[in-house]
Symmetry: C2
Subunit: 434 residues, 2 copies
């Protein structure tokens, strides 16, 4: 599709982690942004176009609403939608061992397909254009994403109880070859579920593939304490010693960090993916976001899975990222709105290897959203970025485009599935397990 | 208007602070709920109706969506909409003294009228059907609310720098006589802005009017510390000693409470109104919600004003109320979803003197909302209450009814004003001040 947005406000990257808003047009040809500007300097586009002009499939009057890069959900377990609100308000260990694990053991690949699509639908309502997923049946997850036209990066959930390193390597190649919309990197669940021997295998595979590694890292105080008992060092230090970070990567959660952990993350250019809603709901703690910023470590934001959140909403996560930092540091001035919006877009894209989709600029892929500013929570327009981060809501998402395709517009999904069918499937799956 | 909802799911009060969901019909005659049931036992309604039947202005197929009582926003400064995103990310004192106070001094009654309507519009998008407001020009605030058909209780913002106790009494009578939609109770801004002499005047007025008193109480650690320096006791104890609580009332924020404060709140049957988003954004702290519940003290939830939040969204506040309690107590099992929904509806209504609007039951006033369950964040339907509290969003609000009138439906306002006009006014007001 070739789509011309006009009469738009457009959020462009500016210096450092800041943004600027221009008024004008944004043109999408197939899956690429080919023009951003005031509409008066379009010759440079036509110079490149053989026929000298473009046939528009649609011309959309943005009515002064705001175009911005889609949000990147940098850590999630999408297909856990089936357990949303199933067993909340339980102590963490009971929740995991008595509810989550037994139910997960019953999941089929077909279940994962439908449950992933349910999650993708929710992403679209929240302006999320790609996710970084860790769950079972990665090829099925990739197929669900491709079938919807959505963009999904995946990371292995390797641990002592599932799969093998050979399987990880095989899936790495398969998923990376499936489509431009999907990708896969090595990883493992966490230090406490993965033996040293297995960890060494992951490090070796990363070395072989020249690929980054991601895992749940220092999510709870107990996890760090037990790792220190086992190995005399933090999870981050352990992985560094095992050579896990030769090709970058990062950690999910990163709540309990020590000085040396920050140092390793900075030195290895790793990303800390924060999951603030999950960290509240599971009573894990509050991550040291302000310190990560001061250490100039890349940050990204994830929802975690819908069973531990329970929603998939980047607006909630953005508010929490700054709000929790402020109360943690007792400093209302720390972690400003632009930093947070940067994490939710460019920072996330960097973590996920999606630099081609990280901002609105000519040559970038068209992963973008339009926010309805003519809603009371976006008025007055004292500061658009702060309005988004502190006041934004799913209700403001007017349009979500992934890879040049409009997948959600005016509360309607264009993903090739009827919502009612997806809801019925999800209810059937959990119904069958009860 | 007489409105029949059919094919609905209806959230009814159950034992204690819990709820149950029935499927059936809900009938509204003028401003009252006259029937809730399966539609087969309606004779008892017709027995009461002189003509034996009701002429419906509308019959609404709820399509199995959920009717529930509207949310009560139990502490706010609505007209601060003009300062939304104006000066965030500043230390609290700078924000207050350099930005908020100088701008507030420029507000006219006419400004307050338009800025209040902007806030009311946002309340409607979030399923909020009444607010407990503290701000300048109370008669104007009441007029804005009445003109929209919205329900607003107000509390005096009395302090050493504005108004007099005589004026508070005069306004009390005026606003309480204006309309069934509006009410007013005595109050004062906070201990640190109100001299002992003035506090005694408020206590005497409460005694004279047999009316409860509300104020900002123990919002920050510094506030409590300074009160103890001044009087050798906490703000709660000071007010108790001054006889402030003879007719009930309560406090806004209530973050820093000591054993004796809980005891006074319980003994006097006071309400603690929590404002979690504001407490994060201004780095104030996390309120001891779990303790309040264990002490059986009534709890309510408020957004605080839009300059310190920055949005007016009960879904965000509900998630924060439970999420922050869980991380504070290091207990994922504390402060369950039903407790939180109770606070946001019945608990808030109790605080605001709105027991007639606190739940869906025959004879209650029709302050209710319909949530769209056919959205991905509400699926599967493992538990409707948990879905609302942990996963709900403004996007789910399909209809908001106040006092029997539909004021918001399918993203359209029915308040007698064009949204664009209200947005233009709000931008003009802050533009004039720059």
């Amino acid at each position: 599709m070739n789509i011309r947005f006009y009469n738009a406000r457009i959020l462009e990257p500016s210096e450092g982690h800041s943004f600027q808003v221009i008024t004008g047009e944004l043109w999408v040809k197939k899956n690429e942004i080919i023009y951003i500007g005031d509409g008066l300097d379009t010759e440079r586009v036509f110079e490149k176009e053989p026929a000298g002009m473009i046939l528009w499939d649609r011309e959309i009057d943005a009515e002064k609403n705001l175009l911005l890069p889609g949000f990147k959900n940098a850590h999630t377990h999408t297909a856990m939608t089936f357990l949303r609100s199933y067993a909340d308000d339980l102590p963490l260990q009971d929740w995991l061992t008595k509810q989550v694990f037994p139910k997960e053991a019953l999941l089929t690949a077909d279940d994962i397909y439908w449950l992933s699509i349910l999650g993708i639908m929710e992403y679209l309502t929240s302006g999320i254009t790609s996710n970084f997923d860790m769950y079972f049946f990665p090829e099925t997850i990739a197929k669900a994403s491709i079938d919807c036209g959505f963009r999904t990066m995946q990371v292995s959930s390797f641990n002592d109880f599932t799969s093998s390193i050979e399987e990880m390597e095989e899936i790495y190649h398969k998923v990376n070859e499936m489509s431009d919309l999907t990708g896969y990197v090595p990883g493992f669940h966490a230090e406490y579920t993965t033996s040293k021997e297995h960890l060494k295998q992951v490090a070796a595979l990363s070395e072989k593939l020249h690929a980054p590694v991601y895992f749940h890292n220092s999510e709870t105080a107990l996890e760090v304490e037990q790792c220190k008992e086992r190995y005399g060092m933090t999870p981050t230090r352990l992985m560094e010693e095992l050579g896990m970070f030769q090709y970058g990567g990062g950690g999910y959660h990163c709540v309990y960090f020590e000085d040396e952990d920050f140092e390793i993350f900075r030195k290895r250019n790793l990303t800390a993916v924060t999951n603030p809603a999950s960290n509240l709901k599971l009573a894990s703690g509050i991550a040291p976001i302000d310190r990560f910023i001061k250490e100039e470590i890349n940050l990204a934001i994830g929802t975690d899975g819908p069973a531990s959140n329970n929603c998939l909403d980047m607006f909630r996560e953005m508010f929490l990222t700054t709000g929790l930092a402020k109360v943690r540091e007792k400093d209302a001035a720390c972690v400003g709105a632009e930093e947070v919006l940067y994490m939710a877009t460019t920072g996330g894209a960097a973590a996920m290897g999606l630099n081609e989709c990280d901002s609105l600029a000519e040559g970038k892929k068209a992963d973008l959203i339009m926010l309805d500013l003519k809603q009371p929570n976006m008025q007055p327009e004292n500061n658009l970025v702060r309005n988004i981060v502190y006041s934004g809501s799913k209700q403001n998402v007017k349009l979500t485009m992934v890879n040049g395709q409009i997948l959600y517009e005016d509360n309607t999904f264009q993903i090739g599935f009827e919502p009612e069918e997806i809801y019925r499937k999800a209810n059937e799956i959990i119904g069958r397990m009860k």
